[in-house]
Each structure stands twice: as structure tokens, then as C-alpha cells.
């Protein structure tokens, strides 16, 4: 019996917290990723129809929310620091919180930031730790009401064509059960991002990540609002939006 206990103890110690490297690092630091939603490199102006897409449609934005997840930092030697996955879900809301605050990061120099847009639908929810994110996502209306899946982005507003009347538009892109994977992994290089140990003085590294909203309509694919102003569970257009979004992030240093 004793032997058994010792064995189990060893096994559990060996396995315990292998994904949480920070506990082994004596002096971890912090990183704030601030998401800046922009068009033409300027902060968004909400509501008014002040923007024009390449389909020559004027549009304004009333609501913009999205989910960022699975944040990983890549060191100079290509090794990765994977942020504890259950703490890595963030709701970014143009009219609310726009910062992903990461703590207990091993002090080091990093050359790239990797994150997910949306929620990885292939991972088992216990494994990926999303179950505790459900209440927040629900309050933000980021769950489909009829299904147990997430909206990765909620993007709504109004548009007009040829100065005609204002018509509402709505893009909700997420997972379609297990059949279509609109989750995207995004990697942005950063030049030698140093995370310092917090020590006495609160040393928080901060990086601004720009999300170029115009690219939702115009990037790899071009989407016209007149052609389709409501995209929800749409196996043809939703993947196009997701692909466009995967090109829309950059960092200003």
C-alpha cells in the first residue's frame, strides 16, 4: 500500500502543472495586449455612416465584439510559452473591455505573439477550459441561442448604397457544430518584446494590437453588404469573413 501511495504521489507530482510553466519561474512578469479596432489606422467612430468599403457602400458600426483565445508567446529560440489555456479567453468589446491582461509570464525576450480568433471547436470543453467562459460569453450575447456554440465575432451596423436609406447589417460568425471550423490562429511578429519580472515596481509590458476593421469586407475576399446584409450560419460567407479577419491583425511598436 505504501508503495502505491508513493508511486501515485510521484506520478501526480510529475504531471501536476506541466502546462503552467510560470510556477517554476521565480520572477514572472505581466503583459497587457490592448486591442485597437481601427479603420485607416484611426480609432473607430461608432454609429455614423462614415466609412466606405470597396463595393462603394457607406457603412457605420453599432456593435463590435469578438473572442480572443489560446494566447502563446514565442521566444527567440522558437520555444513557446503557452498561457494557461483556461485563463486565455478574452471578450473584446469596442464599447467595453479591450485589454487582455496576462500575468505570471516568464521573464524573457519574445519574438512573436500567437492567439486564436474565436474558440477552438475541436477541443473538448473541459480540456480547453471554456466552461467557465460561458457566463461571460452569454452576458455579451456571444452564444448562439439555439445551439451550444460561440459567436466568434458580432459585428453590426447600418449601410446605405448610393446615399439611399439606411439598412441594418449583421455579421455573426462562429462555429457551425463540428462541421465547419471558423476558428483562426493568428501570429504577429514583435521585435524583441521583453517581459521583465515584476519585482517591486509593477513592470507591465504593453503592446497595442490593431484590428483593421475594413478588412472584414475587403481582404482575401470582397464582401458586399448589398449582396448579403445578414450573415450568420452561412457556410459560404462565414468562412470568407473568418479568412479576411485572419489577415486583419498587426502590431504597432
Amino acid at each position: 500500500m505504501k508503495k502505491l501511495i508513493v508511486l501515485c504521489l510521484l506520478v501526480s507530482l510529475a504531471i501536476a502543472c506541466n502546462n503552467d510553466e510560470s510556477t517554476n519561474t521565480p520572477t514572472p512578469g505581466s503583459l497587457n495586449l490592448v486591442f485597437q479596432n481601427t479603420i485607416d489606422a484611426s480609432p473607430l467612430v461608432m454609429n455614423d455612416l462614415v466609412y466606405t468599403n470597396t463595393s462603394n457602400e457607406n457603412y457605420g458600426i453599432n456593435e463590435l465584439k469578438y473572442i480572443i483565445s489560446n494566447i502563446t508567446l514565442i521566444r527567440l529560440d522558437d520555444t513557446e510559452y503557452i498561457y494557461p489555456v483556461e485563463d486565455s479567453y478574452f471578450l473584446i468589446d469596442e464599447e467595453g473591455n479591450k485589454t487582455a491582461s496576462l500575468v505570471n509570464i516568464p521573464a524573457d525576450t519574445y519574438k512573436a505573439i500567437k492567439f486564436g480568433f474565436g474558440v477552438d471547436p475541436t477541443k473538448y470543453p473541459i480540456e480547453s477550459g471554456t466552461l467557465n467562459f460561458v457566463p461571460l460569453a452569454e452576458e455579451a450575447d456571444m452564444l448562439w441561442s439555439w445551439s451550444a456554440g460561440y459567436k466568434f465575432i458580432k459585428f453590426e451596423g447600418n449601410y446605405s448604397v448610393n446615399s439611399g436609406s439606411e439598412i441594418p447589417f449583421l455579421y455573426h460568425v462562429g462555429s457551425h457544430g463540428a462541421t465547419l471550423d471558423n476558428y483562426k490562429e493568428i501570429i504577429i511578429p514583435v521585435s524583441n518584446m521583453v517581459i521583465q519580472s515584476n519585482g517591486e515596481n509593477d513592470n507591465i509590458t504593453e503592446r497595442n494590437i490593431q484590428f483593421d476593421i475594413a478588412k472584414i469586407f475587403d481582404s482575401i475576399h470582397t464582401l458586399s453588404l448589398e449582396a448579403k446584409n445578414e450573415i450568420m450560419v452561412d457556410p459560404e460567407n462565414a468562412p470568407k469573413i473568418a479568412e479576411n479577419i485572419s489577415t486583419a491583425f498587426s502590431i504597432s511598436e
Binding site: S12, C17, Y124, I126, L131, E138, W144, G149, G177, A178
Partner: protein, 357 residues
Amino acid sequence: MRYLKYIIIIFFINGCSSDSSDENAIVSTDDTPATVTNALLDFSVPTNFPDATYSIAQNPPTERGFELGKKLFYDGQLASDGVVSCGFCHIQSFAFTHHTHITSHGVDGRIGTRNAQPLHNLAFMNEFTWDGAAAFLDTQPIIPLTAEVEMNETISNVISKLEADDTYPTMFYDAFGSEGVTAERMFKALSQFMVMMVSANSKFDKWERGEAVTFTAQEEAGRIVFDTKCASCHAGTLQTDQSYRNNGLAMVDPFNDIGRERVTGLPQDHLKFKVPSLRNIEITFPYMHDGRIATLEDVLDFYTDGMVDSETLDEQFRRDDGTLGLDITPEEKVQLVAFLKTLTDNDFLEDRRFAEF
């Protein structure tokens, strides 16, 4: 052997606590009641069954976790009106369906659009609900909890109610070994309760396992008809190949249910629904996704004469002469019904572990 179970449990609980100062706790188990009293339950796969799809290792059912899941399942507090529990629509003696209603009834008597599904052998399913809107058992309860026509609540509000309750915080502690009423724990406990609902003791199971049962001549004849005409979809031990198909039901007002297309957006999924398991089918009436057919005899009449054509109708139902349906003689229908009744598992329907009272 009993000890081994406890150690495994402790191992799971301590597996990844962020403050790693409790190494000692792993050894001195005997004075931590939360862990010591919480034995693993025996989830074993019946010998005639395929492997479980649910990841038991990530959420192993325990005595206290199951108890918590059961209390949650039967608790009307989880609904906005304080009445409609999961168990209100999923009644054990009808294999956890709501057989007095055609489609489900939720808070304030609001009527849903679908027939409550039986709950059994969920640990072996790939996707959940009639159209597969839930890809995981752990997230499936989000749908009934938040649907206006079902429990009409928000997850955050449910968690607040549980936190304020006299007994839940202790039960969560006992089930998971530390403080905290969280959404993840609630979903895990519900899954632990539902995963244990294994129905594998029907006459059909005993026959499959080669136990001492014999089919009557009629049951045996029915089994052979079933194998040739039904088992391409209602396949294998689980009585379903878990695919989505259109079996020729007309789309009807007021629901106009488009089926699987709602989940995938694909036109080829129009009017397709998950092939249901036919286990316990004798007592899960009424039948089909909206409960439109009352008896098994009527189901068989539908299969021979009641189908409506549409683009996505399963090819198996197209006869050479252009008419629709399966060819089943009146005698074969009687035999089929006799066979279908061998799928009833009274041990499961009367299993005290799952009973509300």
C-alpha cells in the same frame, strides 16, 4: 482496491492546482473528508458496446459529483420560474422523455418545437439533440437552461442562485474538493450524472452478449426484418449510426423545422435529423422529432405509406417504381414491433440511482 480509487481521485483533484504547496495533502488523505469520502463510481462499458466517446478520464464520475449532478438535474431553481427542472421534461420511467407532451413544455407552459429526447447511453454519442446543435455533452445543458421556451434562465443567474443556496456550496466543495460554485463544475456534475445513465440490460443486450435469453419466434423474425430494412440507419448496438437523414416526414406548420440545416447552414442538410437510437422505444412515445406519430404501428405505416418527397429524402426510401417508402408486409410489421419491444430495459427505467425520489 478501494484505496486505489481514492488515490486516483486525489490525484485528479490535485492534478493541477496552481498553488503547489499541498503536496502533503496528497499523502495525509485520511483527514480530508472531501476527498476521502468521494469515491470514484464504476463507469464500465458493457461488453457488447463500442468505446465511450465521452472523455471519462477528464471528468470521472464520483459519488459526490453524481449526487450534485442529480440534485441539479431535478432542481426547478435552475429555471426562471423555479419549477421546470431538467427532470420535468426528462422523466425516468419514460426513458427520460416527456411523453405526455408531443413537443416539450417549458416555463409558463411555453411550448417548444421538439419532442424531448430520451437520455440514455449519452457517453457513447458524438453529438447531441435532434440536429446536433451541441457538439459536447458538457455544453448541451446550455441550450435548455437558456432557451426561452425551456428553462429561460441565464447561466450567470443560475450560478448566483446556487451560490446563495444553503446546500449547494457544500455539495460543490464535496464533489470537487475545494471551494467554488462555478459554471464548469455545474456542467461537469450534470455530465457525471448523465454519463452514468447506461441502458444495457434489455433482452436485446442479453441476446447480443450471449446470455441465457431466447427470442420468441416472432421477435427473431422481427430481428431479421429489422436487420435488412432498418439497421442501415438504426445500426448496431446503439441502434443508430449517428448520422443525420431525412426519413420523409413532411415539414409542417407551425414549426417548419429545417433540421440539421439550422446547425450547418448547408442546403443538403435540409430536413435531416439525427437517426435516433431505438432503445427503450416502446415507452418513449410519441415518436419523431416533433412527436407527430403516436404508436409504433403508426410509425411502420408511415415507413410503408406515409412519406413525402423532398430533395434530401434518403435514397433508401425510393422504390424502383418511383413510389416512396419501405416494403414491409403486415405480418412483418407485427414481427418488427415484437422485436422493438426487446429493446426495453426495465432495469434502467427502475434504477434507483437515477430516481428523483
